[in-house]
Symmetry: C2
Subunit: 302 residues, 2 copies
Amino acid sequence: MAAVTGLAFASTLGAQPAKTARLVVIGGAEDRLKDRVILRKFVEYCGGSRARIRLITTASAQPAMTWESYRAVFSELGVDNFEQLALTDRDSAFAPQLSQEILQADGIFISGGDQGRLMDVIWETPAYRSLHEAFHLHACCLGGTSAGAAVMSRHMISQGPAVLRPIKWATETDIGLGFVSNAVVDQHFSERRRLARLMSTLAQRPDLLGVGIDEDTALVIERNRSIEVIGRGAVTVVDPSRMQSNVDDVGLEEQMEMLGVVIHMLPSGHRYSLDSKLQAARWPESLRRVLTRLVAPGPLRG
Amino acid sequence: MAAVTGLAFASTLGAQPAKTARLVVIGGAEDRLKDRVILRKFVEYCGGSRARIRLITTASAQPAMTWESYRAVFSELGVDNFEQLALTDRDSAFAPQLSQEILQADGIFISGGDQGRLMDVIWETPAYRSLHEAFHLHACCLGGTSAGAAVMSRHMISQGPAVLRPIKWATETDIGLGFVSNAVVDQHFSERRRLARLMSTLAQRPDLLGVGIDEDTALVIERNRSIEVIGRGAVTVVDPSRMQSNVDDVGLEEQMEMLGVVIHMLPSGHRYSLDSKLQAARWPESLRRVLTRLVAPGPLRG
């Protein structure tokens, strides 16, 4: 499969109808038994119950169980065209049939587990390129929960304890799928008290935004337009772009000084749209900057 | 005892030698067995081992044990003139002898326990007025740990669980001694994961700063001049003065939107002085504002 060039990207885009590309980034533990607010919304964004939705369980240590669980939920939500993608190892990621499946999907859902396992399998393979084409060129709706949320960002936290305070190198980061291109996403955020861990990461990478998503909560990113929080909890956005830190002056695992970190707590039910002049008038300057960066899709990769 | 008027305050101050008034606000669980960095500094700020230091155990449920513990520590630190103040109930707070003791002290240390118990005993009594005179007119060094730190602020958190996210009325506040006049102090801060609780409080009171102090960590406030963090952890300053929140639009215990909250993480070993132009040049605007407000003493009360 040939890499899609910038030129091809532009011309293909021009030929497409204006479809809304969305990411549904879930902080883990989404409700699958009761109201299923988030998964129901995901189905809607894929185009409704007749949509072709595909599941990636590669991150999961128990893919069969994960598949069974989601099969049941999506079936109850009326989705008949729901299949698991055969993405089990690097060889499988090169199969033309898999890329075809990805490119024909209206929605793709990435399960939880270990984000490193998924990235090891998919990184720089035709399946990876197809995921990017599906989102960028066909506006395929991408959902991901827990590890599936972490991989949405360009740089993801691959490991790191829930430190009490920001300390240097508390976390290790690794490269993710890159759909949320200017942020690092952390999941199970309030429940696992991960703010200090996220701040530790941002001290090293003040060029990124921090996005902490609570359990049973999703950040819906509508490309170039808006973000919305749905589900039970909140999304914490951490903006270090005006921060002063002493990260370069302290040793490994030492506490850091971080001055002027801006935090936005966005609770469920709130939508922030670049289209709304009314909203924008009351936003602090940082939120406008944050929003512009969050809705910007990463480059088409492959 | 006559209330000291503003005029008397000014003229008495003029007659005093320029002595540095300090608050040593400790987040609880300060080291009393090993290096005792914080208590050692407290003794130094009181004037050294020959200082007259008095202990207030009124907040404690076991004042005798608390007294014994601190007596041992201060004795090991070379302080001979260390006594407990007889402040056990409201009657005792009216005793002229007690006020005399307070006014003659070089340093007063307030133990942990229940901040409400201390405030119930001391509020609007001669002992309360004497504490204010001791600090404002004689530059007596005031130290307090845990509940003794919470009472330093004008408005203290009297109760509230460690909520996961900022919610409306998560906390109740009550009036404190008022030495840190523009802030609400929360203690055991990182250890008990209290940021969301502090933010909940600030949503209701955006006129105040939030000051979260870790265990075995102290914020030293030098009146009208500087703040310094000593001990093991960090001080988290939360500045809601540019925040946009929807606190007025949500119901009891509902999640809140809070946009543009600024956070400063100040680790141990850092001092921030209004005197230093070099420091000020690199401070974010919010930190300058925060510092000016934190070092401003509350009014002399009585």
